[in-house]
């Protein structure tokens, strides 16, 4: 999907540089803790479970939809042209839960369905993660 100048793009921090660098070439990463072996997605450097330092690690981005909403009204010019669009909360295989826009027909999403993270290229700006159908 082409970049839309009106839609906001993510803003990187020093702690999320690894995530956004990988996102630029379409790779999805989660934080992994070498101390307790848990995955997390806080964007802050330390593991929320044991407070050891985390590393960014590749993930296949596959997740199961827990719930979704179909947005039918927006006051935001950048999103008006996408209406109706679905937003889904899904649980990644590694554990963390994430809410993203579903890039596909809103009517095609269902609870329990598997989706996968993909990235929308925003040129010089940070790429936006979205769910796509598997």
């Amino acid at each position: 999907m082409p970049r839309d100048e009106k839609r906001p793009t993510p803003i990187r921090t020093d702690g999320t540089a690894g995530f956004f660098d990988a996102a630029k070439h379409g790779e999805f990463m989660l934080q992994h803790c070498g101390n307790c072996d848990q995955f997390s997605f806080t964007g802050y450097r330390y593991c929320p479970n044991c407070y050891a330092k985390t590393e960014w690690r590749h993930s296949d981005g596959i997740a199961t939809v827990k719930s979704f909403a179909v947005v039918t009204e927006s006051s935001h010019d950048g999103f008006k042209k996408l209406l109706p669009y679905a937003v889904a909360t899904a649980v990644l295989g590694e554990g963390p839960t994430l809410s993203l826009r579903y890039d596909g027909e809103a009517g095609n999403i269902a609870i329990g369905q598997n989706v996968k993270v993909a990235f929308q290229d925003n040129g010089p700006d940070e790429a936006t993660p979205v769910w796509v159908a598997l």
Binding site: I11, R12, E73, V87, L100
Partner: protein, 374 residues
């Protein structure tokens, strides 16, 4: 409290000053009697709009050498938390009289460029919501409502019952923004905002300000208004717990508040629930224990929450039909009812009220039990 709703020509800070002036006049206290100030802002503060409520309020109020000042934030749970903190400082002797203020002015008469596109951007992982099109709470609460529907069979008509009962109360509240009665059909035919939530599942947006003065019971008994006692409080903050929007912090905070007040649910006469959406009323009452988990859809239908029902709830029209002053909406109506000053919507028995405040996307929750001085 100030006038509510589409009131233009002043900022959130102006509403805050006006609310304090009204509260002082209402209580009979003098500005110099106030020695504590707790401050909370709404959308204007969240979106960094001009003249949002801030620590500058002390200067705006011309208050010097206070014994307590703080700007507090647990989103919709802030107001109840402010009253708890104020009560503790009064009880410990640190303060004599603390004014707790909330004010907001997000509605513009002539919207400026960018109005409606203002979002709280955030950084890092927190900055993914805006680009994902998750621009308002409706999207998040729609996901919660859908999950509740999936797990428990709750329907949109169940949510409509809550909207209708709440509006029935609002028809009798001169401060309410929406005062025309509605039906389940009106709800079902109102436009979809974020499926499954219709327009009539969503709260209003308001300009205005509310100030509450907390002092000792002895002092309050000498003032102009009947005292409203803070009998119990509790907090319960699920944070990012995955199932927090179905199993909310209301359970934890409600149990604590009732226990401190030495009360059972059956003793509660009136409920004032933070109702940013119809779903929030349903899930909060469920988690307070008014029905078995998941059965709220049926349990709160057939006018039970409305005028004449056996569970009078959100008797001023709540945030759905009344006014959206975040956690101050339920507190203000609880005070009006407890004093017996609610006019034609007055609930006959108004000795004990359970008040809820929900924050964020249900990450935060604070409860109060307020009571008459009997």
């Amino acid at each position: 409290m100030t006038d509510m709703g589409r009131v233009y020509g002043q900022s959130a800070m102006d509403f805050a000053v006006q609310a304090v002036a009204l509260a002082l006049d209402d209580s009979g206290l003098d500005k110099n009697d106030i020695d504590g100030l707790l401050i909370s802002g709404g959308l204007c503060s969240y979106l960094n709009m001009s003249d949002a409520v801030s620590m500058h309020l002390q200067k705006a109020l011309g208050m010097q050498d206070l014994k307590l000042v703080n700007e507090m934030n647990a989103y919709g749970a802030t107001a109840a938390s402010m009253l708890q903190y104020a009560a503790l400082t009064c009880a410990s002797g640190q303060t004599d009289a603390v004014v707790c203020v909330f004010a907001d002015a997000p509605l513009q008469e002539n919207p400026t460029a960018g109005y409606g596109t203002a979002i709280n951007v955030g950084t890092g992982i927190e900055s993914l919501n805006g680009p994902s099109g998750i621009l308002n709470a409706a999207t998040q609460f729609a996901m919660a409502a859908r999950q509740h529907m999936e797990e428990y069979g709750t329907t949109s008509e169940h949510l409509a019952e809550i909207a209708v009962a709440t509006r029935a109360w609002a028809t009798m509240n001169p401060f309410a923004q929406k005062r025309d009665p509605i039906t389940v059909t009106d709800h079902q035919e109102s436009r979809m905002i974020a499926d499954p939530l219709h327009l009539l599942d969503c709260c209003v947006v308001s300009n205005g300000g509310i100030a509450v003065i907390v002092t000792s019971l002895e002092r309050a008994r000498d003032l102009k208004q009947p005292p409203v006692r803070i009998l119990g409080w509790g907090q319960g903050h699920p944070g990012d717990r995955d199932d927090r929007m179905i199993h909310t912090g209301a359970r934890m905070s409600g149990l604590q508040a009732l226990q401190m007040a030495g009360a059972e649910l059956d003793d509660i006469d009136i409920r004032q629930i933070y109702d940013c959406f119809t779903y929030t009323t349903l899930v909060t009452l469920e988690d307070y224990g008014y029905c078995a988990k998941g059965e709220g859809g049926e349990a709160f239908s057939n006018g039970r929450l409305g005028p004449g029902g056996d569970l009078p709830t959100n008797t001023g029209g709540g945030q759905l039909s009344g006014y959206y002053m975040w956690g101050m909406t339920p507190i203000s109506e609880a005070i009006i009812q407890t004093r017996g000053q609610a006019g034609e919507r007055q609930v006959p028995k108004h000795d004990l009220t359970l008040v809820s405040g929900n924050g964020g996307a249900l990450q935060y929750h604070a409860s109060l039990v307020l009571g008459a001085d009997i």
